[in-house]
Symmetry: D2
Subunit: 288 residues, 4 copies
């Protein structure tokens, strides 16, 4: 019988948050994978409490125990606003968690995951439980720069979900530009919806405002929303919902959530509405 590794004090993962004056540390039970791709350093390790932890260039992308908070909020908010999303594009999201959530919606016919780094996909398939739907026949994985890939489509998608890394890490910056958001608008059908992760307003407050303002200038409807994300910097994560036509609350039908076939762990119909309520300091940050 093989003995399980004993977690000690000797192997430590340290993520320095933006500004490098603070961060999170996690004890490492076992390193599972480390790889230097052309884009970034990929690490996956086992944590005694968090399960698998996946990091790019030393920035935590997800841990097994709380990734649901992030992926459910990023994906279900737009997909429950659109009445019948059929074609969805996920940009980034190489761990597969957003894809998994999107494919829970029965109307989805085609889900394209555009992850720039094929080594992330490979690692996710081998090590991460989030990758569970990567071989679903409705899913199509392409390894291209999302900022370029989006230009190929006009009036095509019902939903675009931007599941990027930090704007300051790897190729993340390309996914925070005005031009990119404009191209997302173009690639959406006339009633298309959009969501993007837009960082935290504590360590990265500048980026929250920049991303929100840029998205707002590209879409007629845009709203910032928040969610807890317990292993991300500050635990307070922001997202922006944007849309050509549907209002995130007025056009939201709670009964669709109530009748959903899947048991979710974070998102529910009340959270859908409550997540758009902002603390004063965040309102101020985005001048709302």
């Amino acid at each position: 019988m093989k003995k399980d590794l004993r977690t000690m004090d000797h192997l430590m993962y340290m993520e320095y948050y933006t500004g490098r004056n603070a961060g999170i540390f996690m004890k490492i039970k076992k390193m599972l994978h480390s790889y230097q791709s052309p884009y970034q350093r990929i690490d996956i390790f086992e944590h005694p409490d968090f399960g698998k932890v996946f990091a790019l260039d030393g920035i935590t992308m997800m841990t097994e125990v709380d990734e649901f908070m992030y992926h459910e909020m990023l994906v279900h908010v737009p997909l429950f606003v659109h009445p019948e999303p059929r074609r969805v594009l996920i940009i980034g999201g190489g761990d597969g968690g957003s894809l998994r959530e999107a494919l829970k919606h029965p109307s989805i016919e085609e889900a394209i995951l555009c992850e720039i780094d094929p080594y992330v996909i490979e690692a996710a398939k081998k090590y991460l439980p989030t990758a569970v739907e990567m071989d679903n026949p409705k899913a199509k994985i392409v390894n291209e720069n999302g900022a370029e890939f989006i230009k190929k489509y006009k009036d095509y998608f019902d939903a675009i979900i931007v599941d990027s890394t930090d704007p300051t890490a790897g190729e993340g910056g390309h996914l925070f530009t005005k031009e990119f958001y404009k191209n997302c608008f173009e690639a959406l059908k006339e009633d298309g919806v959009f969501s993007a992760e837009t960082e935290d307003p504590f360590y990265d407050k500048g980026w929250v405002a920049i991303a929100y303002n840029r998205i707002s200038s590209a879409f007629p409807i845009s709203k910032l929303y928040t969610g807890f994300m317990t292993t991300y910097p500050s635990g307070l994560w922001t997202y922006v919902f944007a849309s050509k036509k549907y209002h995130p609350i007025d056009d939201f039908d709670p009964s669709r959530v109530q009748n959903f076939d899947h048991q979710l762990k974070y998102y529910n119909e009340d959270i859908h509405k409550a997540c758009f309520v902002l603390p004063n300091f965040i309102k101020e940050l985005i001048n709302e």
Copy 2:
């Protein structure tokens, strides 16, 4: 001209979260105060981004830049439910932040701060901006064990606010017992309201459920609510509102918040309602 200290990499504060498998690290710009009281080790330091940071036994109690999130949510939720709170008791809360928030309510005539450790009060007065109202004539500071002090009162307070340390640190455990909550009930007037910080559901999930269940067994009305608290473990903080008579939402009058004389940084009338909306995993944790 005195030169400001340069923050380097050489002085680090590390808070190990419950379970000791993860935690937050912060660079120290300057240590301001360290003292071993009969109850705990008290440390206050300057952080380059967070301002003053105050810790008891190595657990962060507050940082200057985000304490408003915690103090506003702990204090204003109950005080805006009660129509006219006059007498408030704050148990714990030695940094003074809860007292400061309570005294923003003009109806308050008497605010007792029962902090067991006089050395915390002394340090707060000397170093922490949160202590600003400790000399307010309406405020009365007593250094007693809150779990004992509460027994002296029956049918007296309009509001009791439990601003304790962790149940596992110092004397914090006394403030998480059934008997204590029962005594809080007794010390409240017939329409009294109550709030308590009840830890985070990620690192301390057991305590959230225990505290909620114990409070629920002592009060006819009780509701868990959440708030972001960016430098606390997980960033997701829970509180319990409890009451003898008033319902936290049905009896809440948003116009009182709108007409409030003070500019708050987190709490607003919409947050008041949204904070009671719980993600599914927290509902499940408390069997709601």
Copy 3:
């Protein structure tokens, strides 16, 4: 072309020294191996400057760049005192470094490496350059408890080298007992020599004195000597030479070192004599 991993700040090895109030930290370039054997946790990683680093239960056993300091001093001091060592027993020493040094002596006919943990041998063969001589026909590897194994031999070995882990780690304690040293004495021929690593006099000062005194009570001749060991706690390492007959300096023939076929990196004929010169505080520690 595969890209080399970029060492960042996010993976850290921390060895807490005895007392746990200080220690060494090393950035990890790549974890190569982690295994929980029945005896201990085995870790091997790549450090950007130190090459391979090998640790047992979070205690550094060797790094590729400086292991020569330790292995040369542990092995050559006794083997250059004995005029013609043929049979040598190495107890512990699972990385193979002591074996490699011993086999540089052309008179050696049989070198037994008694390492309790077969998983250490396996890992060393796969990952560590020190294991280079493990398949030498003169070498014989046995996986037994050295403290038991030694009892099988009487009047057999020319030299015994105790290359143990810390007395407080894993099975290390068995190799620091009076009985063990007595059994080493018995297993040696009438002119046999002995050496043992005996910790550092800064973090483990108690053990230096204990080991020295116990060895001294078992052998007629015993001398403490020191060497630099740059990645071990304090950098100041002690060893004890003991012998049934030969004096470490009076019976030492420098010409044998001068005519040695191998280029050594630390040990030389002058070091042989100088290493027995002790700073006053170490003399005092062992009452010399």
Copy 4:
């Protein structure tokens, strides 16, 4: 009765060694002093085992428990070679340890301590036990740049001791130049002696060779010697003895050490000779 501070895990001092890929960590019991002088950040703290620890720009200058190793080796090696040192100049050495050792020699009539930073002197006097002789009437403290100060003297000192910080820290670099060593030569009397700390050959191997070669080009006699220094990087410290006339071993009279009035903790007459014996890798480093 005031309670002693309990050392926990929450305050950590981390010294990154040259290259920043490894370093030492120490738990902090209590910070005693932090000051940003025009030259450097000065920190003094209490460690549970090491007593007072003094650091400049995050580099450990000394700890109370092992500073004797460094100061005795830096000072007594040259002062026991010179037959009757009367005038000694210490450059750097702001903690006072070298001054204290120098003044143990009864022949000393004038000991000048040239420490560039007056705030180091002030802090040392207030906090460090090493400063014990700073008010000795034979001592004179000047706060000037040593590289400039030395130019004022010709044929004046019997001994010059360079007790600098790292060449890469603060103003340390000025004390590692050819010109500086040449000026030291000029400032010495015809039989003057010199010593300098020259870093460690593990993390700073380049500097050891550079310093040795530059000193060798300025003095007819020069020899590298080593000593253990348990809280310095690698624990292996190098020094260079240089001299206009006296040979460090041939002109050394051990009886002077034996008859010395002071009880030393590291240095003795045998160490004096043994410390010039170099491991092969250090010989190679300096091409000896």
